[in-house]
């Protein structure tokens, strides 16, 4: 009787968390739509819908089996379409599957922002299918599916590496292969601002993501227990987000003399990504430090990418890539052995072993994602084409790819 109640409570918690994480899809959609120009809004929203749809189908059919199936340290091989699926959680198969589908969707959709305003819709569909059926599940298997990184003691509680670094690394290679948007670079290689068209929508998206992240991190406990762990994770998540926004605002204020809104908002996300891996292994004071550094990293990441001539319209690489790395490493620095780490963090006096394993995970995951998806993007580019034509980019992807406008009846400036 009491076991049934406990299992029921855990299941409700995981399902509610899954619904929260699903809603983050809306957050990504709004952030990306707000930070790009009006003429490409329908295109980015379609990409946000469709990548979740394909992630849902592909992860159900094959992704889950590759990720959580048994087989080898590299890839799982049983449980296709959930027949005889291996379930490492304590909740029913379908609750766990839904939660994992929402994560797969989040990893896929990160990339849309970095490749926005110039990627062909068809090319994006191919990318979506491959990433949610293959690349994300394989990386997930290494870390969460009893794969080789898990065996080594690598710890990523809610997915700084699995979700965010994977998405961020693919975003980096995708933006690099595509090249900058027309008009982004001046002839002397300096950068122009191609300003986002709707900051209030982007702001709403940030709030939605922050809200959804409580499910993303606290739901990754996969159970309620006595409530103390989910309480700590939720608090850590909030503190890191707040600290990230504050430091990003402070740094950009100091450099440019104004508290820039788009940078501050990305700072919140930077703090959230950074706390995702360590959220269950650190105390709130460490979460404050992790988030604070995360916010500064966002500013540094944006400037570095501009210097490298890589055009990331929404800052996805700085937020998810740079902070995916930082959050994973933070486990090896601030992590407490008593919270379930194999070796424990540096500050507690456990030496560099945990940090070393975390670093190995970062390098192999980023390397694998960049290698596989870099090859896929190159192949698409050589065959079907990855980038839209110059005329189409100037006219906007909405009218050319989808045959409609985001704001009919409003005057959209076509002169930029």
């Amino acid at each position: 009787m009491i076991e049934t109640l406990i299992k029921g409570m855990d299941t409700v918690w995981v399902l509610i968390a899954a619904f929260f994480v699903f809603f983050m899809q809306a957050g990504f959609g709004m952030v990306e739509a707000g930070f790009i120009r009006a003429k490409n809004t329908i295109n980015i929203l379609m990409k946000n819908f469709i990548d979740f749809a394909f992630a849902s189908v592909m992860f159900f059919l094959v992704g889950y089996a590759f990720m959580f199936g048994t087989g080898s340290d590299f890839i799982g091989l049983n449980g296709f379409a959930m027949f005889n699926a291996n379930n490492p959680s304590g909740v029913p198969d379908f609750a766990f599957l839904l939660f994992q589908i929402a994560f797969a969707g989040a990893a896929a959709t990160i990339v849309a922002g970095a490749m926005a305003e110039r990627t062909k819709f068809k090319a994006y569909l191919i990318y979506t299918i491959i990433v949610s059926a293959l690349v994300y599940p394989i990386i997930g298997h290494w870390i969460w599916g009893e794969g080789w990184l898990m065996d080594l003691g690598f710890s990523d509680f809610a997915g700084s590496t699995v979700v965010h670094l994977t998405g961020g690394a693919i975003a980096l290679i995708g933006a690099k292969i595509l090249g900058p948007r027309l008009g982004k670079l001046n002839p002397d290689k300096s950068s122009n601002v191609l300003a986002g068209h709707n900051i209030p929508i982007a702001a709403l998206g940030i709030f939605i993501l922050w809200f959804g992240w409580f499910g993303f991190n606290a739901g990754s406990t996969l159970g309620v227990g006595d409530g103390s762990l989910i309480a700590m994770v939720a608090l850590n998540t909030n503190i890191a987000a707040a600290a990230g926004g504050i430091t990003a605002m402070a740094v950009v204020w100091f450099i440019f003399g104004k508290p820039d809104a788009s940078m501050t908002m990305n700072g919140f996300l930077g703090g959230l990504v950074a706390i995702t891996a360590p959220c269950a292994f650190v105390d709130p004071l460490s979460a404050l430090a992790i988030g604070a550094i995360g916010g500064m990293l966002v500013v540094a990441g944006v400037f570095l990418l501009e210097r490298w001539g890589i055009d990331d319209p929404v800052g996805a690489v700085a937020v998810h890539g740079f902070n995916g790395v930082w959050g994973t490493m933070a486990v090896g620095i601030f992590g407490l052995k008593s919270m379930g780490l194999k070796f424990g963090g540096l500050i507690e006096g456990n030496g560099f072993t945990q940090l070393g394993v975390q670093a190995l995970g970062v390098v192999t995951v980023a390397g694998f994602a960049i290698l596989v998806m870099g090859t896929v993007f190159k192949l698409i580019d050589k065959t079907r084409g990855l980038r839209v034509s110059r005329d189409e980019e100037l006219k906007g992807l909405d009218i050319e790819e989808h045959g409609m406008e985001s704001y009919p009846g409003f005057e959209i400036f076509l002169t930029e």
Binding site: L182, D391, L394, E411, T415
Partner: protein, 113 residues
């Protein structure tokens, strides 16, 4: 003095600007415009329903020039805007009786250059 008014495809504006800069024409006014010419409209779909929209989006460029610059300016606009397809646009040339620079009070040719 002439006033050159050109109506072009919006996505050709970067090319036209580039050609104008090469011809050392730097002063211009650019605005969004709606209109239709020979090509009487295009279709758009909304929720699966195809409907026709007669007025097309264009960009209007206005440039006031002295006589010597009329030919280079027109050549530059044509070079930048021509694709050979319907919808490339039109150029109108108007006589300009007077021009005054507000800051200095200059008039005529001096005010344009």
């Amino acid at each position: 003095m002439k006033l050159i008014v050109a109506l072009i495809q919006p996505h050709k504006l970067p090319d036209v600007k580039h050609e104008l800069f090469k011809a050392e024409v730097f002063k211009m006014t650019v605005s969004n415009a709606l209109g239709a010419g020979q090509q009487k409209g295009y279709t758009e779909t909304y929720r699966g329903i195809v409907h026709e929209i007669n007025l097309l989006k264009k960009v209007r460029i206005e440039i006031a020039v002295n006589e010597g610059f009329v030919k280079p300016t027109i050549d530059a606009i044509i070079k930048g805007a021509r694709t050979g397809k319907i919808g490339d646009g039109k150029i109108f040339i108007l006589d300009l009786p007077e021009c005054i620079r507000i800051r200095t009070g200059d008039t005529g040719s001096d005010a344009i250059g």
